[in-house]
Symmetry: C2
Subunit: 191 residues, 2 copies
DNA sequence: AAGACCATGTAACTCGTTACATGATTTG
DNA sequence: CAAATCATGTAACGAGTTACATGGTCTT
């Protein structure tokens, strides 16, 4: 997956490892992440596969850099990957895994947990949404025909956040009801 | 993460590696997956850490099995993990990564792609939702106080699917509009 | 004067996937 | 009679994380 992500970024325009890192950090982080160490390693394998070519550029006043460009073979591979029919979904949600085992802790604690989670959103308000997508709009100047698709990924992020907040509210309702039921039971026993 | 998932399952009741595999496959797959090879490897490390203990049980008519139980130290570790404050979100969505680079393909092809994706839902109808959660309801008989939390994870799955379908519909709208705009442009040039 | 930015990577480790290997019993 | 279920793993590889290492320039 990461290989093809890097390939796609280089196909938009030539890039250094550092630039690829910043795009992952600033624009793709809500659906894919990558450490620099991993990026530089993958760049090596992509080059060995003949999908990208490297050009050493000397600089004054700042470190030299290696600029990578996509090769015809690399572009073919990118297209092949895009057409590949894998709709894997591959959900892997650590918060849900925790939720599944929360029965080990007292309800009050879990209620606090969900409240904290609900308030820790990536796009908490309209203002943030705009800045989060600012980088993409800047990139869109060079590739207006690709901007449509970038907009779609941002829309997903926003819809996901909204759904997550709604789910948290639902969970809080359920847990409050559960807590009340528990209290009533202990009162019954005490009578 | 997987270590603690396995620990949690064993804390619900003693289990063999095979049983753990079936729970991941049948009940947790919509938010976490695990191959058998990985499960058996993690069971070894969990045992070395002293968090679980192994008991060899001989059987007739079927292969012998190794039943794992959680130790007091293991239970402490499970609680510690649950209380740990990591709200990482850690989204990693291959479909969005593809979407980001779809500008390389013709719009018509991408429209077909989204239609296929929309129709390939995990919980496509009410009937399926019931069977998907049936296993959890069966497990709930032994642990009624934990069933609340299991129900929450199922609710997430359903809300996620719904959001995904809505997002697909939105994408299809946007792409249809984009296609029309493209067509109009080529007509202008031809005139 | 301190910290962020540009720019490169290596080493060690952990986690996840794919493929292979075995073999009896039960169900359709 | 074929396929699924029960039950165990190993080997090799690929992907992801953490920690470390360097050093000049630009901004606050």
């Amino acid at each position: 997956m990461l290989k093809h992500g890097i390939l796609g970024l280089i196909s938009n325009s030539d890039k250094t490892g550092y630039e690829i890192m910043t795009v992952f950090r600033d624009s793709l982080s809500h659906f894919w992440s990558a450490q620099t160490s991993q990026i530089y390693r993958e760049l090596q394998t992509l080059q060995k596969a003949g999908w990208i070519s490297r050009k050493h550029v000397e600089q004054t006043g700042r470190p030299d850099k290696n600029v990578f460009s996509i090769t015809p073979a690399g572009h073919e591979e990118l297209i092949r990957w895009l057409r590949e029919d894998n709709i894997p979904a591959e959900l892997r949600n650590p918060f849900l895994l925790k939720t599944f085992f929360m029965g080990e802790l007292p309800v009050e604690e879990n209620i606090a947990f969900f409240k904290a989670f609900r308030d820790a959103s990536v796009f908490p308000d309209e203002g943030r949404q705009v800045t989060a997508s600012a980088d993409l709009y800047a990139m869109a100047v060079d590739h207006p025909e690709k901007a449509v698709y970038w907009k779609l990924t941002i829309a997903f992020g926003m819809m996901y956040e909204k759904m997550q907040r709604e789910w948290c509210d639902y969970c809080l309702q359920e847990l409050e009801a559960f807590r009340q039921k528990q209290q009533e039971n202990t009162e019954d026993i005490q009578q």
